[in-house]
Symmetry: D2
Subunit: 360 residues, 4 copies
């Protein structure tokens, strides 16, 4: 294991934290050196901290709990010596993130799934194939804040698939406007309490608190340009309705886009199929062979069938059609794995990118 980057996973007992533990198990260049969680868990072996009062082993990702992680003693936040690690992956809630992440970032890079710092001026929202060129803003952050590390939050999981599919359209035809309705999986809500079975069975919940605003702002920031040490948000208008459906994993999004330049269905499909994304992101350890898979079967993509495309790192697109309402309108459906590319694995990919760029 010599030579691997030593990471600490913060918020390790929650669902997103577990996803980091699972995703890093066989990672070629990053290892889990320590885990941290709330005071209730601190001091216990990780496997014990996951055990509930009634005997349940609360490990919720499909992959088995790695034995090495199982025996690690969970650190309380006060016990973390940031200097012992090369980087931190943070899976804490926004309010905890607001305190803990800046403390860690004084010393080391923090890659986070929390939303706490996403909207600050010196903070990029990185999706490696889309906007790896925003990475250097983190060096600006270091200068401004006088810190050795940085905070690099990843976008909201609903933003990720949308931004990835818009990127090739922006490059090929320009994007004027986006209207999107999401059908989101339950795992996006975590487990405390997450989505209650009584609420979602035989049902749709047409509202996810604060989600639509996040997607609208984040999409413009991610597609924006990085110039003179600042990100200029993209001028496209974005409007969303976000709903929750009875799906375990994998967000489905129905997208209507107005392009700047007219494009046929074939041209749109080709633009997505052939898109390679940012050079630096093409061959990272977690990069899939293609960022977007375009399917011709009209019944696809489906979240259960397509969420795991290329290990959950690829966005799947189908049903590309002309839209007769918007100027140069096209419409399509996408599926993106909200807890893989949209969460822990996406954060690990960001770490890989920033390392490849020499930013840490």
């Amino acid at each position: 294991m010599a030579g691997k980057l030593r990471s600490i996973v913060i918020g390790a007992t929650g669902l997103a934290g577990q996803q980091f533990i699972a995703a890093l198990k066989d990672h070629p260049t990053i290892e889990v050196a320590a885990v941290s969680a709330s005071p209730r868990s601190a001091g216990k072996p990780y496997a014990e901290a996951l055990r509930t009062a009634n005997g349940m082993q609360a490990w919720f990702v499909p992959e088995p709990l790695p034995p090495a992680a199982a025996s690690m003693t969970v650190l309380g936040s006060a016990e973390i010596k940031a200097g012992d690690y090369d980087l931190a992956f943070s899976a804490v809630e926004a309010d905890v993130a607001r305190e803990l992440e800046p403390a860690l970032a004084r010393e080391i890079p923090v890659i986070s799934t929390a939303s706490a710092f996403r909207y600050e001026d010196d903070v990029p929202l990185l999706i490696p194939p889309v906007n790896a060129d925003h990475g250097p803003l983190l060096q600006e952050m270091q200068r401004r804040r006088g810190i050795k590390g940085f905070i690099a939050p990843i976008p909201n999981c609903t933003t990720t698939g949308l931004a990835i599919t818009l990127a090739p359209l922006e490059q090929a035809f320009g994007v004027q406007a986006v209207l999107m309705t999401s059908l989101q999986a339950m795992s996006g809500a975590g487990r405390s309490p997450g989505v209650i079975g009584l609420d979602i069975l035989d049902n749709v919940i047409p509202y996810i608190h604060k989600e639509e605003g996040k997607v609208e702002v984040e999409t413009k920031k991610i597609l924006g340009s990085f110039q003179k040490g600042a990100i200029q948000p993209h001028a496209a208008k974005v409007s969303c309705t976000c709903t929750r459906v009875a799906v375990l994993e994998g967000h489905t999004e129905s997208v209507f886009v107005s392009l700047r330049k007219k494009a046929s269905v074939q041209e749109v499909a080709a633009a997505m199929r052939e898109w390679k994304g940012a050079e630096v992101a093409r061959h990272l350890p977690s990069s899939p062979p293609r960022w977007i898979e375009v399917l011709d079967d009209p019944f696809r993509p489906q979240p259960r069938l397509d969420r795991d495309a290329h290990g959950g790192m690829a966005t799947t697109v189908g049903r590309i059609r002309e839209d007769g309402v918007l100027e140069n309108g096209i419409k399509y459906v996408l599926v993106s794995h909200n807890t893989k590319m949209g969460a822990a694995r996406g954060a690990i990919l960001v770490a890989e990118q920033l390392r490849a760029q020499g930013i840490f």
Copy 2:
């Protein structure tokens, strides 16, 4: 029962046919005088025709099978003497409708849930509160075709809720364009085979064969104007993506509308809340107290909680917000009961309207 209109239900053993039987059970002015179904069922008592080889009573609506219907002998189509009835309700598939409905319509009115004749020039698509004024086109049909009855198909169940919510917007502000993504219930697909459990559990199916085209064409026809014996489709542009979700009953639709005249969220909510619909439709036996219920709770409407509003005859709307993409854009979510207002009960409502208008 003297004085009630005597109806025959065609396609009585299928899901939509059963809904007619259930909905007419206590109807004040229309009774089920006979039932007809495929040759396999003909000659059997209705309750027996519903029994499968393995002993199951294949009655699928929640209300109990009315004893009067249970004992009726199912007629084969060749045995129907149209003149014995005042009207027919048809719940057959489109291909059967194409043959059977014109034969019946020579003698009597046929109100149908089938799509076979929806797109012909002399056929209105009636939603009583929205376009009762299109009813007289049926008299035009009688003249042109030289028939004593007529065929009055109701719209696709996905069109119904959309058209009802657009009607007050059209009246108050004008409608320029509509983009809609549906999350449709399984009952819309019927039972032969309908949606297979293996396909829909933990999943979304992003395609419903021919559905989007139906909604786009029908919405414009319903909102169109009836002049000089013909319907002029409304000029609004309509674009849809129709998906299937794991919901039993109740279609959810995420709607983005461009209005002709700017309107605030409050004005839009008020226009929907206060909308009374066509005069003739206000006090029909099946009319709900309000056609649209507007909810303020941001988590509503939900199909399981709201589909049965006013006996499944009201459309529920929530999440009315400004949309920053479309010109004078607003967005909202609606729930409409696809097998009540959107099918059998909606067809019965049409019969009530046409009777009230003296068209039969």
Copy 3:
């Protein structure tokens, strides 16, 4: 409303408390005079106490929130003057019940869905048609504890359907032994957090904490005999496996019974069909026309189709067959509504019985 019994609902904001509010709305002899809940809710109008931070109206039963209840000010437990009410319905958790119910019972009858006192010697577990004759044990409780009221807990919701179907078998043939596997609905777990959607979709959870022991002990107590001021548990052996399935409401139970006397399938069906239950319970306001509905369709009972039989107060039985393993073995499947007969409405029925017996 003059002349109705004035009840206070304790734990009124939770799911079970809401079921009491809904069930008492049009009750002919009992009214809701006050509602009580935790300190967080105290002092607010009930409708406000139900509203969450993100704007949701957290009213979870299908019936609408009664306006009279909506405007009641929620009382904290310290503010309850028991003497102001004729009885209390308690829907609090077991630990709260342990403190609050005895305090109220000093003055007034407490009918409770909590398990806290179910297993004490002077406490009957009443299912009116089954063991109304255990009611007088409450007078024994009053004597022993020197209290004016009493605590009458109802059984666990999984016990209820089982005991009801065993009662006619016991009377007609005798019951030697019972093996039962339950497939329980999610509503039995309440909402805090209840069953998480991520856990139950596409899944079965084969364990419900403490449930099996409850059913085993309670069934024997309910079927036991009341003699000399004490309940002698029934001698039958009972063994259960309790599982959770993705069903909203309605517990399904697969039951294998060894009878003392051999009985045919027809005899068993007749015994259940013809069973009238205790005389005093036959015509209470909440009594269904029959306590047990026996269905011949081999595909029944199904929880979604049968849980609401007779307003959720009847237990539905089907698939009665001989069992070749147990002595005089028979097997069947039952469905019982866990939050109607098995919770609030069952508790109201107990109040009705005790009133009819003159116990309060």
Copy 4:
């Protein structure tokens, strides 16, 4: 690929047929040399035969369609020259099996998932770790029927997990009687039409046509002894109730067993954990490292979490407890993958066993 056994998959377009194609993709000793299906598919490339009229690629197993199979021309049954293959895997319905399998068996071994021949005297029902010693009955069949091949049906998928868990109990303690309630996955019903979503969502279906009789008879046959050229069914009594739940894959079974010799929970767990099964089955290409996984977490096994244990070839057991009703009673819950060990992969395992035994 030289040296692999050349198999033909019969009924290749159905769900079970697809599972054979997927399971054999990388098999070390058996290859798919041809595929056969109904006349509707015959003559088309396999991938085309899977495409429906509305454009859907009807490939339903999670693994991708192997390109080699995709391009094979589907044979009609009349075109099959049995002599071209080393063996056939049959996934046809029982009525087709009754004609087609004997024809093939004149020449080659037929391993089948169909029930057509399971109950004939000269036909063993093989689960390799349990009753590999029944294999030679196939040679008896060859003699009696004068055929070069044979028909080896595998048991019903619900029988498989039950028989596997009973085998170590039989060996260690003896099995007197078994009462089992199953909670079966939808995939067991296939797709034509299989279980309809409208029937199973928010529901349990308490009946599966003919299933209980199959399990009762098959379990006794599998656990029986092979002596003097015939199988003597085991004397244990078996009684079942089979239900369907909203689960995609993986049958859950709640089992109560009466042992001949008293055994503690620990002894039962140890017997299952340490069970190695028949010697010949221990190291077949498809054998899992353990046939039974015993879990201590009381919330396990769960079908979604445990069905894929060891590639779906292991049966997972949990909740082992004493049962106080039956003589020397124990009870437990098992999960078995109905379409892997219980279908195609189980059939392939049987082929591997018979090859290892030199029976073909």
